[in-house]
């Protein structure tokens, strides 16, 4: 492995640079995935059948809580990567850990939200609107869940092996993923919840 010391650790080997580029391309595919979900959401948003509409079931409090939790976690993963660049393993681990805790809290609120929807009669089978709502939110939530496990594994590897070209590369790619989920959430917040409640 040739290590280029003029670059940050996560970019320092050829394979690392390939992985980062590959992940950006993957994020391009993810954008298409969520774009398709949003397009389908806009098509089906009025297909409420006999079920409730968005305005009838959305609650602002949990949604705001989720938004604040996820946006803050995006900030802390940024701090973690910053600490990583400075070579401060301890600070990096702390911020990385805070990110995962915030992600877990987000997921908890989202689960509460789903239970609430089913409780008020807006389950997956109720109408096309509820199906696409729960699928869009659920796809995002599944990504967060996957991220929690993935992030935990990386955290453990950084803890054990320190800041190596390999672990920093994984952490950096994870941060890209996490920021991406945050961006998707901003779209969900604006175009699903705010638009739905107006």
């Amino acid at each position: 492995m040739k290590i280029d010391h003029s670059l940050p650790l996560e970019y320092s080997t050829e394979q690392n640079r390939l992985k980062i580029l590959g992940f950006w391309i993957f994020l391009g595919a993810e954008i298409m995935l969520f774009a398709t979900l949003f397009a389908s959401y806009f098509v089906l948003v009025n297909g409420t059948g006999n079920g409730p509409s968005g305005a009838e079931i959305f609650e602002i409090t949990p949604v705001l809580a989720e938004t604040i939790l996820l946006l803050t976690s995006s900030f802390t993963i940024g701090l973690a990567i910053h600490a990583m660049r400075l070579g401060n393993k301890k600070a990096m681990l702390v911020f990385f850990g805070i990110t995962l805790v915030l992600g877990l809290a987000f997921l908890g609120v989202e689960i509460y939200e789903f239970v609430h929807y089913v409780h008020v009669g807006a389950g997956l089978q109720t109408s096309a609107f509820t199906a696409i709502l729960l699928t869009t939110l659920g796809t995002h939530g599944a990504h967060v869940t996957f991220g929690l496990f993935w992030g935990l594994f990386i955290l453990l590897q950084v803890k054990k092996n320190g800041l190596t070209p390999e672990t920093t590369n994984k952490s950096f790619i994870f941060s890209l993923y996490w920021h991406f989920l945050d961006v998707v959430w901003i779209f969900i917040f604006s175009f699903v919840y705010l638009k739905g409640m107006m």
Partner: protein, 648 residues
């Protein structure tokens, strides 16, 4: 017993029972043979765990050829059923299942792996790389594709085949009208294979962007690499749409959601739109690499450089953009109104312009070339007129007002077969014949090869030209029979003869492989075609590391320049070479995905949960695994180079 009843075929026939026996015997024969010849270890070490792009490419090609015969058997059955009016060979339900699986198998499990197989084998060699960017991901791509293909193929003996057409339009594909698990197979098997394809797309984009030999700028890439590059961009942007559509279809069928139903706010047209937002770009994913193969072959055997390199690249970029804005032309008659139809008519017809540019570029490459008629060249020369027939009828279909006359008739069937067979299949056969010596170290027999090319070329015309006429006369597609009085009988009989001719042509190719394997010379050197690009500059058989020294590039045809103008391609000293390790994880994940998919199809939730956890377990294992690859020591590289005919 109750548990097993779900696996019964809902609509059995003697042919299906015979297939069950045949499949069972084949599996037993393979297992017995492997055990008897003690080949399990060899199979595991050399093939199942390989991450070598060349071997993965060859596995893709073998699968594609197997699937070609599966899809071809479907085709022969359909043509035999339609050969005479009111024929009783197949009933309506069987006919429905057969045209559905024929479409899916041919597009997704034959054409796609054929193209991806050639990309795998050729692209790293063409750009002077030692492997793809993510070799293990590449193996995973293959095994996911293979799991999906096998899952789809067992449908007709376990639980029933999909019967709603390869487009699987809702509400026909919904639970109300497709009650067997067939359409579940469609949703899940294609989903698994599609994930593999998406990974391939990412892998090859990273490879082509980052791993080209020094000096090979984007505009010095060989044309096949360019075409694959564009096709992979389309893959990355089109396949997620299919992922979502299939997931929604699965939710509808297995979880009672209402995306595409006719009540509770569902919208069946959403499926049609999503399907074709993926489906039309998919057509260009298939055809662009095919165009790339033709560019390589025509330039090699016209013995001159490719005419209009820049316009070739430009037209492919334009095609890739247009491919995403034409999808509505697949359902002009399904109620968008005149305005929307007109827009999509214009975008559709616009695609003829860049395609025409490419056709003329090939013609101008032939102009003043010293043409050598070899088998790959023969396919390429047959392609130009035949594909033009398909292309021009496509423009006819693209005119939305006129389309009302011939939509969903045999005219359409004739059109897309006349583009896909001369466009994609001829290219794949040309590519297979062209790269065969590089893959296996001997050439396919030219005499038999030309016989098969002519047989396939003429049979394509015989099989599909009559459909233009019967279609214009009103014969609908996907109808299992027709009356004597309709007058379609003669056209369909001619088609059947053509289909039989195609079968003979493909059988000749198989015979050619057998014949050449036995009798062809192994002493062919590394450049039997006198070719122009980098893949022919390395040894045959290609060593594991492809190039002992990384080549230095300063033109589009570096190998030609080396041969004719004495430019140095390989400079510097031999060094130890870093290569990735083999891994069994991709193969295991393929098996797990197969079992996961199978359980999902039959809604057996406990196994679904177990296999889901196992799949994530494999991913977690990979995350913690430390694998930095290995070095091939300098002595071994020197030894290999000397054995293969000297250091280059």
């Amino acid at each position: 017993m109750e548990f097993f009843e779900r696996f019964a075929v809902p609509h059995p026939s003697p042919a299906i029972y015979a297939s069950m026996v045949a499949i069972g015997l084949t599996v037993i024969a393979i297992f017995a043979g492997l055990t008897y010849f003690k080949k399990w270890g060899f199979l595991w070490r050399e093939w199942l765990t390989t991450v070598d792009h060349k071997r993965i490419g060859i596995m893709y090609l073998i699968s594609a050829i197997l699937m070609l015969f599966r899809g071809g058997a479907d085709a022969i059955m359909m043509r035999a059923q339609l050969a005479a009016p009111e024929n009783k060979l197949l009933d309506a339900q069987h006919y429905n299942e057969i045209f559905s699986t024929h479409g899916v198998v041919m597009i997704l499990f034959m054409a796609m792996p054929f193209i991806i197989g050639l990309m795998n084998f050729v692209i790293p060699l063409q750009i002077g790389a030692r492997d793809v960017a993510f070799p293990r991901l590449n193996a995973l791509s293959f095994w996911l594709f293979f799991a999906g293909a096998m899952l789809f193929n067992i449908s007709f003996v376990v639980g029933g085949s999909p019967d709603a057409g390869w487009t699987s339009y809702f509400p026909l594909a919904g639970n109300d009208f497709s009650q067997s698990v067939g359409t579940n197979y469609y949703m899940i098997a294609i989903q698994i294979a599609g994930l593999g394809t998406l990974m391939t797309g990412i892998n090859f984009l990273a490879t082509i962007l980052k791993m080209r030999a020094p000096g090979m700028t984007l505009m010095k890439m060989p044309m096949f690499t360019w075409s694959a590059f564009i096709a992979n961009i389309i893959i990355v942007f089109a396949f997620p749409v299919l992922t979502v559509a299939l997931a929604m279809g699965t939710l509808d069928r297995l979880f009672g959601a209402n995306f595409f139903t006719s009540n509770n706010g569902g919208m069946d047209m959403l499926w049609a739109n999503l399907f074709w937002v993926w489906g039309h770009p998919e057509v260009y994913i298939l055809i662009l690499p095919a165009f790339g193969i033709y560019s390589e072959v025509i330039s090699t055997f016209a013995r001159r450089n490719l005419y209009g390199y820049k316009s070739m690249v430009g037209s492919m970029v334009i095609i890739s953009v247009l491919s995403f804005v034409v999808w509505v032309h697949h359902f002009f008659t399904m109620g968008q109104g005149a305005f929307v139809n007109s827009i999509f008519s214009i975008t559709t017809m616009a695609i003829a312009v860049p395609t025409g540019v490419k056709i003329f570029n090939w013609l101008f490459t032939l102009h003043k070339g010293k043409i050598v008629i070899t088998t790959p060249m023969l396919y390429s020369l047959l392609f130009i007129p035949l594909f033009t027939i398909g292309g021009v009828t496509g423009v006819m279909l693209g005119m939305s007002a006129a389309d009302y006359q011939y939509h969903n008739t045999m005219f359409l069937v004739a059109h897309f077969h006349m583009v896909i067979i001369p466009g994609v299949v001829f290219a794949m056969l040309a590519g297979l014949t062209y790269y065969w010596p590089k893959m296996f170290g001997f050439m396919l027999n030219e005499r038999i090869g030309k016989w098969s090319a002519w047989t396939i070329g003429i049979s394509t015309l015989v099989a599909f030209m009559p459909m233009f006429f019967s279609g214009l006369d009103g014969q609908a597609r996907r109808m299992y029979t027709y009356s004597e009085a309709s007058g379609f009988a003669i056209w369909n009989m001619i088609s059947f003869i053509g289909a039989a001719g195609l079968a003979v042509g493909f059988a000749l190719i198989v015979y050619n492989i057998y014949y050449s394997f036995r009798y062809a010379s192994r002493d062919i050197g590394s450049d039997p075609w006198d070719a122009r690009t980098l893949e022919w500059s390395t040894h045959t058989p290609v060593p594991e590391y492809n190039f002992a020294k990384i080549p230095q590039i300063d033109s589009v045809e570096p190998f030609w320049d080396q041969k004719k103008h004495g430019k140095k391609l390989f400079e510097g000293e031999l060094e130890k070479i870093h290569m990735p390790n083999n891994s069994g994880i991709p193969f295991i994940m393929g098996i797990l995905f197969f079992l996961w998919g199978f359980s999902f199809i039959f809604a057996m939730w406990i196994p679904v949960i177990i296999f889901t956890l196992a799949i994530f377990g494999c991913m977690a294992y990979q995350s913690f695994e430390k694998d930095h690859g290995r070095y091939i020591p300098l002595e071994e590289v020197e030894e290999t180079e000397n054995k293969l005919g000297g250091n280059r």
